[in-house]
Symmetry: C2
Subunit: 244 residues, 2 copies
């Protein structure tokens, strides 16, 4: 099983037409089609077609999302590629593990492989959109890989997960990140109103709760159920009443 | 066990400073140092340093060989990377098999990973220097990979063969291709003089004999022994005497 047509490549804050073109060619090499530019640094990617040899179909079909949140919203699983100097205090998948995980999760819906921009990679904030992070092991001499070279390694490994084109999701459709994002927003509002979260620093506790839902691999139906539950809770809460 | 310091990357008939620079960076990413340009199309690689980020040490230490034969002469094993449209009538290794084979053979001495030029790849003649060929499986839509992207995939896999730096060869040193080339030349002369080979078409039979020696993984000592044997035979043969 390979991620196949369910895999979305997401380039966050890309600035180089050369990198964009090279990534299109690699995607065509390994038979992936879906490309999203999230919050691109420039909209002027003239010149990308020079390196996008025989991969016009990928270049022309790409979509642009103004924010990373919107770029990942229809994915059920996203893994972000970072350098090992960036990932601190979080355990990272190997490239092989990430490729296997993408293939597995693609049975539940669209999956995303996320790359950071050329200059700063992915921030901690960006990584909150990722269920996992992966690190390509590199040497101490030059730990930082070029964007297109990282994409080569990872898309090759995804391609090698199998050769059959993926059909419709085999499992119950997973919760899309867009729905989970809406749930998160609603949880925050409701729990703040109910004085459960500390108004000065609500994030830590909220993230812990979100993580448990993330880990449980919610289906889309379950996520909508939760969302609906918090909508009702939100309407029912009268702010201030839980204070002593 | 990884090919480590015994691995030589050989770029044959390269013309693009960008590709050269990108390959240097990938080599630094994965801790390989030895780079040979064989029969480069240009000697003017100004601009390569732009993409050779933090890999000056690789770029500055590269050597240039006027022919492919000279580029591979101190290797005991060379595998050439071709596209699947080029390799006809020869069974190709997968990238994973090639990486394992390079690691194995590196116990006998230097091993070479050979890439063809941007425009024509590797010719049949070029491939005669290779004990094996490898093909990165790609899609029908765009089967041809960019040079630097192929190098990313293959050097990543070589790197993943293990992380310990390779020490001195663990096995008896293997026959260097330079010595094997000299042996091949001497065999041809001697066998022609002895009228064993057909003067109009000597190659087919000669190659069959050479292949048996290649398969036996000669040590350097054994190859020198054979070479010496044919030197003596050559001097002992009187041309024409074997004719009826």
């Amino acid at each position: 099983m390979r991620p196949g047509s369910e895999l979305t490549v997401i380039l966050h804050q890309t600035r180089s037409p050369d990198n964009l073109g090279a990534v299109c060619r690699i995607m065509a090499n390994f038979d992936f089609q879906r490309l999203v530019l999230s919050e691109p640094i420039t909209r002027d990617f003239a010149g990308a077609e020079r390196l996008a040899v025989k991969s016009d179909h990928v270049l022309k079909a790409l979509t642009v999302a103004p924010t990373l949140g919107e770029a990942v919203q229809d994915c059920v699983y996203v893994v972000g590629s970072t350098s090992r100097t960036q990932v601190v205090g979080r355990s990272a998948l190997t490239p092989e593990e990430a490729a296997r995980r993408l293939a597995e999760e693609s049975k539940r819906g669209r999956v995303g492989l996320l790359f950071g921009g050329e200059q700063r990679g992915l921030s901690d904030e960006d990584l909150t959109h990722c269920a996992d992070v992966l690190v390509i092991p590199t040497s101490d001499v030059q730990p930082s890989m070029n964007l297109a070279q990282s994409a080569s390694v990872l898309l090759y490994l995804c391609h090698r997960q199998g050769v059959e084109p993926s059909g419709p999701p085999a499992e119950e459709p997973g919760a899309r990140l867009g729905t989970l994002g809406a749930l998160s927003k609603r949880m925050r509002e409701t729990m703040l109103a109910a004085d459960f979260l500390n108004r000065q620093a609500p994030d830590h506790v909220l993230h812990e709760l979100e993580q448990t839902l993330m880990r449980s691999r919610l289906t889309q139906r379950e996520a909508e159920l939760w969302l609906n539950a918090f909508k009702h809770l939100g309407r029912a809460v009268t702010p201030g009443t839980s204070r002593e």
